[in-house]
C-alpha cells in the first residue's frame, strides 16, 4: 500500500472538523455561563439555542473547510495524514470529555 497524500478536501475539512469541535465546546460553555446574554441571543436568533448552536457549528465547519481548501493557491492546507488524524481524534475526544465534564460539574 502506497503512502500518498490525502486529497485537499479531506485535509481541509478534517482540520475544519477538529477546530469546529473545539469551537462547539467553547460556545457551549459560553452560552451556559452567560444565560442572559449569549444564551438569550441564541434563543432569540432561531427560537431555540440548540438550533442556533447547530447552525453555527455547520457554518464554521463549511466556511473553514472551504477557506483551508483555497489556501496555497488552491492546493489546500498542508498537513500530514498522521497529524490530521491526531487533530481529528484529539479534538473529538477532548470535546467529548469537556462536554461531559462540564455537565457533571454544572448538572
Amino acid at each position: 500500500m502506497e503512502n500518498i497524500e490525502i486529497g485537499k478536501y479531506g485535509r481541509s475539512f478534517g482540520l475544519s472538523f477538529a477546530i469546529t469541535c473545539l469551537f462547539s465546546v467553547i460556545l457551549l460553555i459560553l452560552k451556559e455561563t452567560n444565560q442572559h446574554t449569549v444564551m438569550a441571543w441564541m434563543k432569540a436568533a432561531t427560537t431555540h439555542h440548540w438550533i442556533t448552536h447547530t447552525l453555527l457549528d455547520v457554518i464554521v465547519f463549511v466556511v473553514l473547510g472551504v477557506v483551508f481548501a483555497k489556501m496555497n493557491d488552491g492546493q489546500g492546507i498542508k498537513i500530514s495524514p498522521d497529524r490530521l488524524n491526531s487533530f481529528i481524534v484529539g479534538a473529538f475526544v477532548i470535546s467529548g470529555i469537556l462536554i461531559a465534564g462540564f455537565y457533571l460539574v454544572i448538572g
Binding site: 475539512f13 473529538f92 467529548g96
Partner: protein, 151 residues
Amino acid sequence: MNYFTLMAHAVLGSLLGLAGVWFFVDVLNAKEENQGRIRIMSLIILGLMWLTYLLAGYFYVIHYSADKTLVLKGPWPFAHDFFMESKEHVVMMLLLLATYLPIIAHNNLTVNKGARKVVLWATGLLVLTTVAMEGAGAIISMGVRVSLLPK
C-alpha cells in the same frame, strides 16, 4: 406522532451504528473492487445521521419540554442534567463527523494509507459514540418512566 419521531430516531440511530460497523469492516478490507461500495456506505451513513438528527431535533425542540419537567421532578434528574445535556451537544460533533466521512472516503482507500487510517479512526469514534448515545437515550427514557411510578 410525537413518539413515532422519538422511536424512529432511536431505530435510525441503531441503523447508523450498524452501518458504521459495516463501513469499518469494508474499509479495513479496502480493495479496488469495494471502493464503490465504501463510498456508497459513507453516503448512507451521512443520510442516516442527518435523518436521525433532524427527527431527534424535532422531538427535542417541539415536544421534549414536557418530558424534561417530569424527569427533573422525578428520582432521576441526572437523566436530563447530565445525559440529555451531554447528548444534545455530543451529537453535534457526530453530525459533522458523519458529514466528513464521504469527503475523506472519496480518496482511494486501497492505495492511500493516510486516508484509510483517518477513515478507520473517524468511523471507530462514530460507532462508539453512537452506541453511547443509544445508551444515554435509554437512560433519559427511563428517567421519564421512573418519574411516573407511584410514590
